[in-house]
């Protein structure tokens, strides 16, 4: 469990980082918190020619509100986002989800952008990004572009980031009228999720009537999925035990139609249904 040889650079600017990455011709890897990459290196599952350590790149550190958007630098440590009053006030879903990311020691090192770019199919933050319709900002020597979360996750550990691109910023919309919840089932506390659900529900002022519901699930496929059927079914309705049940059933039905039929998958789909009920029950005003 020792990595093979690689070159190591630790640039202090984003410009230099993307240059180094571009120069590696697709053979380079970015190192942020290292919570996934380092084990993979040690198991020799990845054998990059160069590691570009982003640890000194200040541009990736920012955490600020820009109007109706919360901008989180990709290099922000998960523990910092988890404890930030700004994040809690603007996007409570983020700390709600972060509680489930590994253990404290992992969150002390792991970064927001690292987890999203790694795109582990059972990871929490991709679900958050998808549920909030985050904008993911990527930079390369060729310029900067913004990718919608819906267009970002392509499969297990696969995103639409190009080989030479660095995820620099995660932009999350701020909803004053939303209530959010994050629920997860795992074998042990801090484990990879068997299933998890991020829920964002916006209510009409002073009522139980749902203006918009966004539900993103992980655990049933290679990427997080939006439970569109359940979301549509909830819109304009009041959140009652009946609508909760209907949403859970819609979620199961949608996943049934799209995923394979192994016993384990069926179990995970049931879990998602359960998590939909629990999350919706929690967000009820």
């Amino acid at each position: 469990m020792k990595p093979p040889r690689f070159d190591y650079s630790r640039p202090s600017t984003l410009a230099r980082a993307v240059e180094l990455l571009a120069a590696s011709d697709g053979e380079g890897k970015l190192l942020a918190g290292g919570q996934s990459l380092v084990p993979v290196l040690n198991m020799r599952l990845a054998q990059p020619s160069v590691l570009v350590d982003l640890g000194l790149v200040e541009e990736l550190r920012g955490l600020r509100r820009e109007g109706d958007v919360l901008s989180i630098g990709a290099g922000v440590r998960q523990c910092d986002a988890e404890k930030s009053p700004l994040v809690r006030d603007c996007c409570p879903l983020v700390p709600q989800a972060l509680r489930h990311v590994g253990h404290v020691q992992i969150r002390n090192r792991g970064t927001i952008g690292g987890s999203i770019a790694h795109a582990d199919p059972t990871a929490e933050l991709p679900a958050v990004a998808l549920a909030l319709d985050a904008e993911l900002v990527a930079t390369s020597v060729r310029g900067t572009r913004t990718i919608a979360a819906r267009d970002f996750f392509r499969g297990p550990y696969t995103t639409t980031l190009e080989e030479d691109e660095v995820l620099t910023q995660v932009r999350l919309p701020i909803f004053a009228d939303a209530r959010t919840a994050f629920h997860e089932v795992a074998r042990r506390s801090g484990d990879f999720a068997l299933a998890a659900l991020a829920a964002v529900v916006r209510f009409a002022p002073g009522s139980q009537t749902i203006v918009e519901a966004r539900l993103a699930a992980v655990g049933t496929g290679g990427t997080p999925v939006r439970l569109d059927q359940a979301e549509t079914g909830l819109e304009g309705r009041e959140l009652t035990p009946e609508t909760v049940d209907a949403a859970a059933a819609d979620a199961r039905a949608q996943l049934d139609a799209t995923a394979d039929q192994t016993v384990e998958r069926e179990f995970r789909r049931d879990l998602v249904g359960t998590l939909v009920s629990r999350a919706l029950t929690e967000v009820r005003p």
Binding site: M1, K2, P3, P4, R5, S189, V263, E264, F267
Partner: protein, 801 residues
């Protein structure tokens, strides 16, 4: 019985002075400061590192091992395959109970499991060694894979050992006419019970550093028994034992995993001899999870002949045990025989007849793991008792009550021949059950408002054989251990012992017992263990033996020293020895406390100012002693019975679980362990053993699993898949001690190392089954119990209704 424990020389009114006192462990200061010295901390000049090339296939013919490329790689010192290691013999099959496996440290013609060592590369550091090892591509011709017990026993199965007629390493049928008679007249209730493959997985992996200089080989190895390793190195490498020094430095957990002698130990030692420079191998976690000894992996077919009140007249059945490739010494089949020996536990069950069949498959070789057959047999019997209760409509707790042994029945010889010397079987049970019922009610109240939560309680009662005879396990070593007690001129004491620690607090235990026996402050006792050059010969630490055998040896040696000390003290005090009293720190004349001498005065006379000695006393103040645990047999008797242990601990465990019926997640919310390990030397250490054992047991009941696929490829090759419980999964453990002193062991002590792990699989399975009662669950007969299992039960009930 207590009077028999009192040492006459200590006076009739002996009450423990330091034994029984809760005190912190002397080991912890260094360990907690990071000042422990483990094998990986051994750094020697010119040291090189080894990396093994291991089989990627579970079963294959080995046709060749091309090493040229690796030898030419950067930083490589040498690379070897089996043919290059002449002088390294096959590991002797010292246990004659099973078919010989004749394992060569590096594979010769055939590999039988993924991870089998094929070649070893030595380089400047581990990075270079791994780079070069990657260049070695052994020429393997795949053979059909035997991935499990049923495949191994199927007609026409591929043979792992072509000269055997089948894949059975040992087949030990049993017969007992009393059992046949019982079954002829009584109702029979039976089942099949499976415990999955798990292992000790200590925090510190294995590791070996070897150095040969000035005609002597020194081997630092993370082992539970340095003297046994030394003898085995002598057998395999041919070096006289006097030329070998084996050191077990600080060891970060053993749990039985390190009570095996591994091929890597022979290989690294032989490399040091060959290269004349220090060689280091530190096992990484992948290697550990794939190649270190694994355990359990058993299926019990168990049937009871049941009387109308639910009590059992006889048990019959068979244990089927998957040994993996079988290339392990001591052999992996031993736990099944312990399971036969301990099956009836704390119950009055007159007869049994249990066959054992151990098969070889293309999995990692099986070996020892804490509990060693006892969690397995406890799981099978306790689950069966729950089933009997269900079938007869009798509360399973009452079924147990009808069979529990009472103190007046001690000593009690069980159906297998185990001679239970003492115990609190019924009282421990009643206390645990009543505490468990209270906690269950509390849990019910706490989650009463949650419609998705069910609470259940399960019980497991067991006896734990401690200081088990090792002859039955090793086929070679027996059971004695030794110590030497040596005074310094200033009154300090050095106690060398043959037991060896893996972090469980043996230094503190030895110091406490010696302080008790000699009347010196604990801090004046220096303890030496784990080094064949400085410790007296002994078998090390396993089988919950260390406390029993070390205390026995110390008692004997200290007695001699005390007697001599008293004669010297009497001379110094101009009194008669029989008028003296041993007090903390020295002797004084009974009734005249101001007329006294310290151990320092006595030792100075014995070692320095020998002119002060009485004329008939020789200089010196030390003694050596060997303790042989009493009452154990070395072989099965004509009646098929055997007592393997000098003393038996007992306990009842109760698990209270909370089951989320919609997610299938089981959480143990409270765990009760009322246990009895005889006289407690240090309650803190005993609690640590119980807590740690329970935690490991919870791991086996709910999380851990060494799974293999159809090609016997290991599936749990990292901690992502091998799920060890973390602090979050361990509930409050309500441990209560009872003390039934061992009548035949000095100080009345019994072992406690394995107890905690024995109960959880049975107690937790029972608790989950109880929690799911409304869903009419099938009997839970296998561990681990996963969320998916629970979900399946709940879903099936939903479909049925």
């Amino acid at each position: 019985m207590e009077h028999s424990l009192i040492d006459p020389s200590l006076g009739e009114a002996w009450r423990p002075r330091v034994i029984g006192v809760r005190s912190t462990r002397r080991e912890d200061d260094a360990i907690l400061r990071g000042e422990g010295q483990y094998v990986a901390d051994v750094r020697l000049p010119r040291m090189v590192e080894a990396c093994f090339v291991r089989s990627q296939l579970a079963h294959a013919r080995l046709l060749g091992v091309p090493l040229e490329e690796a030898r030419a790689a950067d930083g490589v010192v040498a690379a070897y395959a089996a043919d290059d290691l002449d002088g390294v013999a096959a590991v002797p099959d010292l246990h004659k109970g099973g078919r010989p496996v004749a394992t060569y440290p590096l594979a010769r013609d055939r590999v039988r499991y993924v991870g089998a060592p094929i070649a070893v590369v030595v380089a400047a550091d581990r990075y270079a060694a791994e780079d070069a090892a990657e260049l070695v591509v052994p020429d393997l011709e795949p053979l059909p894979v035997v991935a499990g017990m049923d495949e191994a026993l199927a007609p026409g199965a591929e043979l792992l050992y072509p000269d055997w007629p089948d894949n059975m390493l040992i087949d030990a049928p049993a017969s007992n006419p009393d059992v046949a008679e019982a079954f002829a007249g009584l109702r029979s209730v039976g089942g099949s019970y499976t415990i999955q493959r798990v292992g000790g997985v200590p925090m510190e992996t294995r590791g070996v550093v070897a150095d040969y200089r000035n005609g002597r080989l020194t081997v630092w190895t993370s082992t539970q028994y340095p003297h046994i390793v030394r003898t085995m190195l002598h057998y395999v490498l041919g070096l006289p034992e006097g030329q070998i020094r084996v050191i077990a430095p600080d060891v970060g957990g053993g749990f039985g995993t390190k009570a095996q002698i591994y091929v890597e130990e022979y290989i690294i030692a032989s490399l040091a001899l060959r290269l004349r420079r220090p060689v280091r191998w530190i096992e990484d976690r992948y290697e550990h999870l794939v190649t270190a000894a694994q355990a359990r992996d058993v299926r019990f077919q168990l049937e009871a002949a049941v009387r109308d009140d639910g009590s059992i007249q006889a048990l019959r059945g068979q244990i089927l045990h998957d040994l993996g490739s079988g290339e392990m010494y001591p052999p992996g089949f031993n736990p099944s025989f312990v399971a036969v020996g301990m099956l009836t536990g704390a119950y009055r069950i007159p007869h049994q007849q249990i066959g054992v069949r151990c098969v070889v498959t293309n999995k990692t070789p099986a070996g020892a793991y804490r509990g060693f057959g006892m969690p397995e047999c406890t799981f099978a019997l306790e689950r069966l008792i729950d089933k009997i209760g269900g079938e007869l409509g009798i509360d399973p707790l009452d079924v147990r009550r009808r069979m529990l042994l009472d103190p007046g029945e001690m000593p009690y010889v069980t159906a297998s021949g185990a001679r239970l010397d003492s115990g609190s079987h019924r009282e421990a049970f009643e206390r645990a059950v009543s505490e468990g019922e209270r906690l269950t009610e509390r849990a019910r109240a706490r989650w009463a408002d949650n419609p998705d939560v069910r609470i259940g309680m399960g019980v497991a009662t067991y006896t734990e054989g401690t200081a088990a005879n090792y002859f039955f396990t090793s086929g070679h070593w027996t059971n004695q251990d030794s110590c030497d007690v040596r005074f310094d001129p200033d009154g300090g004491v050095t106690v060398g012992v043959g037991v060896s620690t893996t972090g469980q607090g043996l230094h503190t235990m030895v110091a406490t017992v010696a302080a008790e026996a000699l009347g010196v402050p604990i801090d004046n006792v220096r303890v030496v263990m784990g080094d064949t050059d400085t410790s007296p010969h002994g078998l090390g630490g396993f089988a919950s033996r260390s406390t029993v055998v070390a205390a026995g040896a110390i008692h004997k040696a200290a007695g001699e020293v005390r007697e001599k000390g008293a004669r010297i003290a009497a001379h110094l005090l101009e009194a008669a020895p029989e008028d003296l009293e041993l007090v903390e720190g020295g002797f004084h004349v009974r009734g005249t406390p101001h007329r006294g001498v310290s151990w320092g005065d006595v030792a100075r006379a014995a070692l320095v100012r020998t002119v002060d000695l009485p004329p008939d006393v020789e200089p010196g103040l030390e003694a050596k002693a060997v303790f042989v645990p009493p009452g154990v047999a070395h072989a099965v008797g004509e009646d098929g019975r055997l007592n393997a242990c000098p003393t038996y601990a007992n306990a009842t465990h109760v698990a209270v679980v909370k089951v989320d019926v919609r997610t299938g997640i089981v959480a143990v919310v409270d765990y009760v362990a009322v246990h009895d390990c005889g006289r407690v030397i240090n309650p803190l250490i005993v609690a640590g053993q119980v807590h740690g054992g329970v935690a490991q047991g919870i791991g086996g009941a709910l999380y851990e699993d060494f799974g293999y696929d159809d090609l016997a490829q290991p599936q749990s090759t990292s901690f992502m898949a091998y799920l060890i419980p973390t602090a979050s999964e361990i509930p409050p453990i309500h441990a209560e001690e009872m003390e039934s002193p061992a009548p035949e062991i000095p100080f009345g002590v019994k072992g406690v190392g394995e107890g905690g792990i024995i109960g959880p699989p049975a107690a937790i399975a029972g608790a989950v089954e109880a929690a799911l009662a409304e869903f009419d669950p099938p009997e839970l007969t296998a561990t681990p119990i996963t969320p998916q299992d629970v979900h399946a039960i709940v879903t099936a009930a939903g479909r049925a209704s």
